[in-house]
């Protein structure tokens, strides 16, 4: 065998190996795409219906007598009147076949409890409505909504489904009268958490997450970037203390996030008295968690700036600080931003430490500042995932969709900013 033959012989093997390796790569990429698609598909399939909500039209006779109002009711009277009774009256009139206590309760539960509040708000806004009969669209109770979305099989035996036969009959009647419609679920975006699934929304959790992120970003970004800049550009090299700090930063990045939650509980809430459940506490804890990520990625970005640029500036008489802020920082900013967004995305999806500092509480209000009690999107998902109601299952997935969209928007922003800074020169 001469030289060429030998090479040709080995060449066959090499090509085979290359082909095999490419196949493995393709296989793993396809598997990961498959997993991703099935995940997204499942979430989408479960969550999309939550963006629609069934409404029921009822013709309410706003009888001042039944409301227990005198001839000239003031605001307080209007506010405290029993609107629930009007809705019950209307339903009883429409479906007189509801005889037993159980059936009457079921009848009332065709519409959400929020119907009474809507009615009240309408009357307070326009007291002239009293005495008239008006059609109102109310949120349907979650069971009706779930049934309307086809998630309850009416062919099952009655004992195995949440909706009884008589309820089915009422729903069919309402449907045939055109009193049921499905519309975009604005409640999901305007309301905060609620015990009633049809009234539950993500606004509180979303605002809480935003406020928490705001705290985290405004602390973690400057601290992380300056720490990285100091460690890379100014800190003495081969110094024992600097090495120790470096090792500890790397260790911190690997600490389970729940430990940061415990630390936050002890230090921020226990010692410094930061209000419990507040985005401030959450932001501080997530800052601790995000800092190592930002520092490590920023240092890598700073390291990647060619030394020739530093030398060029130094040789022109720039001071170390001028080199760091005038050249190194702008040149490494795209990398730093990417790292920051990765860190922020991590923080946005973080649940465990927030549970420990009380952001898991049931909060039905939208937080107005970083000191108000609040929850966060991932925690809201966790809370809803724990609820047995079918309507919460779809809301869980819908909240996940919102969270994912939020993350995608953040990543898009990162890409946009990176491109923008790169094009500058």
């Amino acid at each position: 065998m001469n030289h060429t033959e030998k090479i040709q012989h080995s060449l066959k093997k090499r090509h085979a190996r290359e082909k095999r390796f490419r196949l493995y790569g393709l296989l793993s990429v396809s598997i990961s795409i498959l997993f991703l698609l099935s995940l997204l598909g499942d979430i989408g399939f479960k969550g999309m219906p939550a963006f629609w909500q069934t409404k029921v039209k009822l013709d309410i006779h706003l009888d001042p007598e039944r409301l227990g109002l005198g001839p000239n009711p003031d605001q307080d009277d209007l506010f405290q009147a029993n609107y629930q009774r009007l809705i019950a009256d209307t339903l009883t009139r429409m479906f007189p076949d509801a005889k037993t206590r159980q059936q009457r309760r079921a009848l009332k539960n065709l519409v959400s409890k929020s119907a009474a509040y809507e009615l009240r708000d309408a009357v307070i806004a326009n007291p002239q409505l009293l005495g008239q009969t008006r059609p109102f669209w109310f949120l349907a109770k979650d069971d009706v909504d779930v049934y309307m979305k086809g998630r309850i099989d009416r062919n099952l035996p009655e004992s195995q489904r949440r909706i009884k036969d008589y309820q089915l009959a009422w729903i069919d009647t309402l449907k045939s009268q055109g009193r049921l419609k499905q519309g975009f679920n604005t409640t999901f975006f305007t309301n905060s958490d609620s015990r009633e699934p049809e009234q539950a929304g993500i606004r509180g959790a979303f605002t809480g997450s935003m406020l928490t992120m705001l705290v985290t970003l405004s602390l973690a970004f400057p601290i992380g970037v300056l720490a990285a800049l100091y460690l890379e550009e100014f800190a003495p090299q081969n110094n024992r203390w600097v090495d120790l700090i470096e090792i500890n930063i790397n260790n911190l990045a690997a600490v389970p996030s729940i430990v940061f939650g415990l630390l936050g509980l002890a230090v921020f809430i226990g010692f410094f008295g930061v209000p419990r459940s507040a985005p401030l506490a959450g932001g501080l804890v997530l800052t601790l968690m995000t800092l190592p990520t930002i520092i490590i990625t920023s240092r890598a970005a700073i390291k990647a700036v060619p030394n020739s640029i530093r030398e060029a500036a130094l040789a022109l008489g720039a001071s170390k600080t001028q080199v760091a802020f005038g050249h190194v920082l702008p040149l490494s900013l795209p990398g730093i931003l990417t790292g920051t967004i990765i860190g922020m995305a991590q923080a946005l999806g973080e649940t465990a430490p927030l549970l420990l500092i009380g952001m898991v509480a049931f909060v039905a209000d939208v937080p107005h500042s970083i000191f108000d009690p609040s929850t966060a999107l991932p925690v809201q998902i966790y809370l809803w995932a724990d609820s047995p109601e079918r309507a919460f299952v779809e809301r869980t997935s819908a909240a996940i969709i919102v969270l994912l969209l939020f993350l995608m928007a953040m990543n898009a922003l990162a890409v946009f900013m990176r491109k923008k800074f790169e094009n500058k020169w």
């Binding site: 640029i309 030398e311 060029a312 022109l316």
Partner: protein
């Protein structure tokens, strides 16, 4: 440097011992070391711009420069030649304290610029580097526009009172670097988009924009093609009318073309320094002769 492969014949009528090249590379190095001895030629000048006496430079435990004394005269072009790793770049970087950026580097000896100690504790490296500019081996323009590259140092030191004056300095510097006509319409395009030779001239323009007294050049043409090299060499000759220039080069032809004096470094020592003509025509030290005749290096 391929010492172990190169037959080295040392002239016996000189004061050095004969070198026998049968041993290993390190043996050879030891023997060469012994033969270097005192610097020959004309190392010291009267009324020099830079005076260096007994310079020793260490990288950690390793000594890179051994007891070098050398003067660089006003408006002279001093070429430093020698095989790779002989310490010429290290020596050059001592002259504007660029070695400060290397933590393990330690510099001893006296370095005087116009009689002022460069390494004095009160000496501010920022001020020093504005007086002693530097051009590097690889063109390293900032990733900014051509204009901003040249204006950077001027802005940094606040040398221009207003925009018009800045414009004037930028134009003048680019003209003196022989680049203005090529880039006058593209002043706001990135400096990194220029060709290698243009980038290096941009770096020279950037250096002379702050009007230093000394310009250090560390193999400024080693990354350039012959045409670009010729342009830079012409430029060096022109610049020497105004500035003192120390240039490290691997090309002996370049040293012969541009310099007034040439210093030959070997193994961290200054072997010979003299007027360029005499170094290349009548080298006094056998090592110098071997190097310039291409027997090793």
């Amino acid at each position: 440097m391929t010492l172990d492969k190169t037959a080295l014949v040392v002239d016996n009528n000189n004061n050095s011992t004969e070198v026998n090249l049968t041993g290993s590379a390190s043996d050879t190095a030891d023997m060469l070391d012994m033969t270097i001895g005192e610097t020959v030629g004309k190392a010291l000048l009267e009324d020099a711009k830079l005076n260096v006496r007994h310079a020793n430079v260490f990288y950690g435990d390793k000594q890179a420069i051994h007891d070098i004394s050398l003067d660089i005269g006003k408006n002279e072009v001093l070429a430093m030649i020698g095989p790779s790793g002989c310490g010429k770049s290290t020596f050059l970087r001592c002259l504007n304290r660029m070695n400060d950026t290397i933590p393990i580097c330690r510099v001893e000896g006296s370095f005087l610029l116009d009689g002022e100690d460069i390494y004095d504790r009160r000496q501010d490296p920022v001020l020093l580097r504005s007086r002693v500019g530097m051009v590097f081996q690889k063109p390293n323009p900032f990733p900014k526009s051509i204009y901003d590259n040249v204006a950077y140092g001027v802005r940094l030191h606040g040398l221009a009172k207003n925009r018009a004056e800045l414009d004037e300095i930028v134009e003048k510097s680019l003209r003196r670097a022989g680049l203005f006509n090529e880039v006058k319409d593209d002043l706001h395009k990135p400096g990194t988009g220029l060709s290698g030779g243009q980038q290096q001239r941009l770096c020279i323009a950037r250096t002379i924009a702050i009007d230093p007294e000394v310009i250090l050049m560390d193999e400024p043409t080693s990354a350039l093609d012959p045409i670009a090299t010729a342009l830079i060499e012409e430029l060096i000759t022109e610049l020497s009318e105004k500035y003192t220039i120390a240039i490290v080069t691997h090309s002996m032809q370049q040293a012969a073309r541009v310099s007034n004096r040439t210093a030959y470094f070997h193994m961290g020592k200054l072997v010979e320094v003299n007027d360029t003509d005499s170094v290349f025509t009548t080298p006094q030290h056998p090592l110098t002769e071997n190097y310039i005749t291409g027997r090793f290096g």
